[in-house]
Symmetry: C2
Subunit: 216 residues, 2 copies
Amino acid sequence: MTGRTVRAEQVSATRELILTAAERLFAERGVNAVSNRQVSEAAGQGNNTAVGYHFGTKADLVRAIVRKHTVRIEEIRARLLAGIGDSPGVRDWADCLVRPMPEHLGRLGGPTWFARFCAQVTTDPALHQIMMEESLASPSLRQCIDGLNRCLPDLPPEVRAERGEMARHLIVHMPAERERALAEGRPTSRSNWDDAATGLADAIIGLWLAPVTPGR
Amino acid sequence: MTGRTVRAEQVSATRELILTAAERLFAERGVNAVSNRQVSEAAGQGNNTAVGYHFGTKADLVRAIVRKHTVRIEEIRARLLAGIGDSPGVRDWADCLVRPMPEHLGRLGGPTWFARFCAQVTTDPALHQIMMEESLASPSLRQCIDGLNRCLPDLPPEVRAERGEMARHLIVHMPAERERALAEGRPTSRSNWDDAATGLADAIIGLWLAPVTPGR
DNA sequence: CTTAAGGTAAGTCAAGCGCCTGACTTAAAG
DNA sequence: CTTTAAGTCAGGCGCTTGACTTACCTTAAG
């Protein structure tokens, strides 16, 4: 049996072409600088409404691209979580937060666009919420955040929230920065995604453990 | 004498209207989501080519908005630099890097848009370079970076570059995040821009002083 | 084999865009 | 006072965009 779907395979192939083309264009030029037509053409679709037909609005397309990667990233995070010992420290939780994205990019291999895509979507006022929803929908991610917070009981809640936001920004934007450097042929401070993740984790841990200047 | 310029005042008033309207729209919706026409209309100009007439391309308009604020920010940084003692430490240099933007926003008072504007421009692939040029053109900024690097002789050069990039992202995006929270009426972790700057400096210093995991 | 369904191609449409042109208004120069 | 130059306004032109319509073609079901 060839599956019951010769047709369905072609459809999902077309969807995949559109997702890939859109991810690349959005990453390189910004979401709002690319029209649905351009995405359709870049995907090799003569029909200029292919995006609308398969995905609906541009926001729906963005969500679909995010979900396509989220599965793999979740798997990586689940594996890292499973590898944590009995008395996890800040480093353990930080790794679970930081490493999934860089490791995912490394596994994709070759040139990638997803990190820059995420940076673009996260910064866009109209799409920011989509990214937040898709991210926070992950129970394993919340588990990491909770675990980390339990490791930092001395940190005032507001400062914890503040530094969590900082870490979130770095986790999104630093891989994007490295990805861009690779795309443009510029030198990078780390030779592979794994080392880049280590450098990022080092810095974020330092950020979380930094002494707090008392308010006046 | 009313100056020799009744006319010139009106012109610069129009330019100011356009700059203010554009800064606000770009900050709220993203640069690429706003047309020059919309900017002209928001500035109360019946002519739909007002932006083109006064500023040229959209990139030129963005540059003009940046420069309008850069003057004040430079003044603040110069004052902070002048207040540094004989043996400056990491905290001194970090303050000179971190505080100018939040203090500038505080002085503007009321609702502001410049931080979000900077975040949008910095993230836009087509405009990123403009922001870098305008920023690095400041000798006082370079002085801060050099001073800081002299305080961190033990940090490998690549790690120093890496963490400098992280600090840059936080300095741009964290004020933007606070500004957005204020605009949307959400609670903020700090009650004023000065305290926000302190929290940011604390974290960035921790980031710079964090131990470096040795490469394998 | 026939038929219905669904995906793709191709063309059309109104709306909005940047850009250009020309007319009007007004401050400053001769 | 006349002339000049500059800022503003009003509108048209060509192009792109998202949305819609139609025709064709392949597949899976009857």
